[in-house]
């Protein structure tokens, strides 16, 4: 059993029609229940729910406060490599982007670590492209061995791996694995990913199942907003979450909803997701799942990040670099995308405190 068995019973166009035909009554029913189904989620992300945004935000705020308290978890991404054998038309690391590539050496990793630690971070997210001949399991294990004693909590966002590889990484000290489907529209997915291992839609779709079976503590899901209609894509993401929570009940989950950002050599977004729509989506996720962690990165603007904290967010990054060596080693190397909120870690920390929340830098024990 894996998610593909369920996914294959759904049809994109039917779901689209269903979401766009949700009525005021459906939205009110979804708001007035306390255990919400994927059908309720559809109502909450539908155009019919737009007039209910303030009410959704109030419920989202209360649910989040009850579950997570007035806290925001802080993390920093650390790019290990921008080598990549995939062509992804929206990504700066795409193979056809003829720019010099870089993979951090041991010494460089430690230099970056030192910088990030000085900023106060204790939770780190390691990111790479997909270069299976050079940036592979032994490379990851080596990198984790180097940084493990410095951070309480290590997450990775790398190419999809096999269950036994995830097991090894879990034993090496990886707490969570993030893998975004980008889009759940199978045909459109092929167009955005014309070449490389990533062009295999099904293999990516089954990745969270492989992570779930490995005993990793947390799985991060998401779609890249801008590729296809965000409503249908997000519905499939919620369906995926629902399936995983039932099947891997000992695992935690987080969802991100990154919007496409400018990067070197990439296409323009196919769909623009507005701030208002992003907030609707954030609140819908919270109303659908009280315990899912929701993350907002420095992709988003200062204006949005200044105001989104009480709406259901549970983790934020700050002062991020999206290129390998970006913090201390080689600030000018090829970046994956341009961040938007360039404020320092201290500024974001103050922002969170001014909003009545506590920035939490440590919420795990490296020896666990």
């Amino acid at each position: 059993m894996n998610f593909k068995n369920i996914f294959d019973t759904y049809n994109w166009d039917e779901q689209k029609a269903s979401i766009y035909s949700k009525s005021t009554r459906d939205v009110e029913a979804a708001l007035n229940t306390h255990k919400r189904t994927p059908e309720d989620f559809k109502a909450l992300i539908s155009p019919a729910a737009v007039p209910y945004l303030e009410e959704m935000a109030r419920v989202s705020h209360e649910l989040t406060k009850k579950r997570f308290g007035k806290t925001i978890q802080m993390y920093a991404p650390m790019y290990l490599s921008n080598e990549c054998n995939n062509i992804c038309t929206y990504c700066g690391f795409s193979l056809d982007n003829k720019v010099k590539r870089k993979t951090l050496t041991d010494t460089e990793i430690l230099k970056e670590v030192e910088f990030i630690k000085q900023q106060g971070f204790n939770h780190i997210l390691l990111v790479t492209g997909e270069a299976n001949h050079t940036v592979h399991l032994p490379y990851f294990k080596r990198a984790i061995e180097l940084i493990r004693s410095h951070f309480a909590n290590i997450s990775i966002e790398v190419q999809p791996l096999e269950t036994n590889e995830y097991k090894e990484l879990h034993e090496a000290g990886v707490y969570s694995v993030l893998v975004y489907q980008e889009t759940y529209h199978k045909e459109v997915y092929k167009q955005y990913h014309p070449k490389g291992k990533k062009s295999n839609f099904d293999y990516r779709l089954e990745t969270p199942d492989r992570i779930g079976r490995s005993g990793i503590h947390k799985i991060g899901l998401g779609v890249l907003l801008g590729l296809e209609d965000w409503r249908i894509d997000s519905f499939f993401c919620a369906l995926h979450l629902d399936y995983l929570q039932k099947n891997y009940w000992q695992t935690k989950y987080s969802v991100s909803f990154p919007r496409m950002r400018p990067a070197e050599g990439i296409i323009e977004p196919n769909v623009i997701v507005t701030d208002k729509e992003l907030v609707q989506l954030l609140c819908a996720y919270r109303l659908f799942s009280e315990d899912v962690e929701l993350s907002v990165s420095t992709r988003e603007s200062e204006h949005l990040r200044n105001n989104i904290i009480p709406l259901g967010v549970t983790s934020m990054s700050a002062g991020s670099k999206t290129n390998p060596g970006g913090y201390a080693v080689e600030p000018e190397s090829l970046e994956q995308f341009e961040i938007s909120d360039e404020r320092s870690v201290e500024e974001i920390s103050q922002l969170i405190k001014r909003s009545g929340y506590e920035p939490v830098y440590k919420d795990w024990e490296k020896t666990f």
Binding site: K65, K66, R67, F68, G69, K70, T71, N122, A152, Q245, W249, Q250, T251, K252, D291, K353, G356, Y357, E358, V360, Y361, K362, D363, W364, E365, T367, F368
Partner: protein, 254 residues
């Protein structure tokens, strides 16, 4: 006075330290609540860096630090975490929490019993968070637990004493103190638990998520005191039916 293991407490209210908007808010509610012991997740404390904000605020409040094992999924991890906590916070008191289910944080009874056995042997004062299961409570006594901490309702739910009938049995049978943990969402819930004869209650979300944590800390303090006094005074029995004017046994008096 409440006595757990060798230690006496004049307050029967224990607090958690999570979910607060700032360390100051936490500090204020601790002081207002009059609590003498506050639980803190080992995973939240940064022992590598001196001056951890959370720890400093707790030290300033001058309460007994009570580390918990939140985050562990089985007995083995719990024992390991307990040893780390003992070293980091220099206490052998432990709030044992093993919830492999991150959604509802339901305690695992099998792993909790195993860990309690082992930790008691290692000299820990173990206070385990458990479901309101009377048989498990007796088994934990045999394993050497210092108290039992059954839940009132799912953690963080603020739903009150949904397990009331089972808590009654536990309180009736227990040889160790019974601390109602989890689910207490209002001072009235805490008062109710105390009226029933619980030895203490542990509260976190209801105080930490309130608009005025100081005032809510104070409200819980008073509720716990009132509930305990009522228990000690002996509540008059409630009766659902009016007394019949012609009782069934009335003929015996003729």
């Amino acid at each position: 006075m409440l006595k757990i293991a060798y230690q006496s407490f004049s307050s029967r209210l224990f607090l958690g330290s999570g979910k607060y908007g700032s360390s100051q808010e936490m500090y204020d509610s601790i002081i207002a609540s009059g609590t003498e012991m506050v639980t803190v997740a080992l995973k939240r404390i940064d022992t590598d860096t001196p001056g951890d904000e959370l720890l400093e605020a707790l030290k300033k409040a001058n309460v007994k630090l009570w580390p918990n094992t939140s985050g562990v999924r089985n007995a083995k991890e719990a024992v390991f975490a307990a040893q780390l906590a003992r070293e980091a916070l220099e206490t052998n008191w432990l709030k044992l929490e093993i919830h492999p289910d991150p959604r509802y944080l339901m305690p695992d009874p099998i792993e909790t019993l195993k860990a309690t056995e082992e930790l008691a042997k290692l000299g820990f004062i173990v206070l385990p968070y458990i479901h309101a299961d009377p048989v498990l409570c007796k088994r934990l006594e045999d394993a050497g637990t210092a108290a039992v901490m059954p839940l009132g309702s799912p953690i963080g739910s603020n739903k009150g004493l949904k397990t009331e009938d089972f808590l009654e049995i536990i309180i009736e049978q227990s040889k160790v103190p019974v601390i109602v943990d989890a689910g207490i969402g209002a001072p009235s819930h805490a008062a109710k638990a105390m009226e029933m004869g619980a030895d203490a209650v542990l509260v976190n979300t209801a105080i930490a998520s309130s608009k005025d944590t100081l005032k809510m800390g104070n409200a819980f303090k008073n509720a716990v005191v009132a509930g305990r006094m009522a228990f000690e005074a002996g509540l008059s029995k409630t009766s659902k039916e009016a007394k019949a004017t012609s009782p069934l046994t009335g003929f015996l008096n003729v």
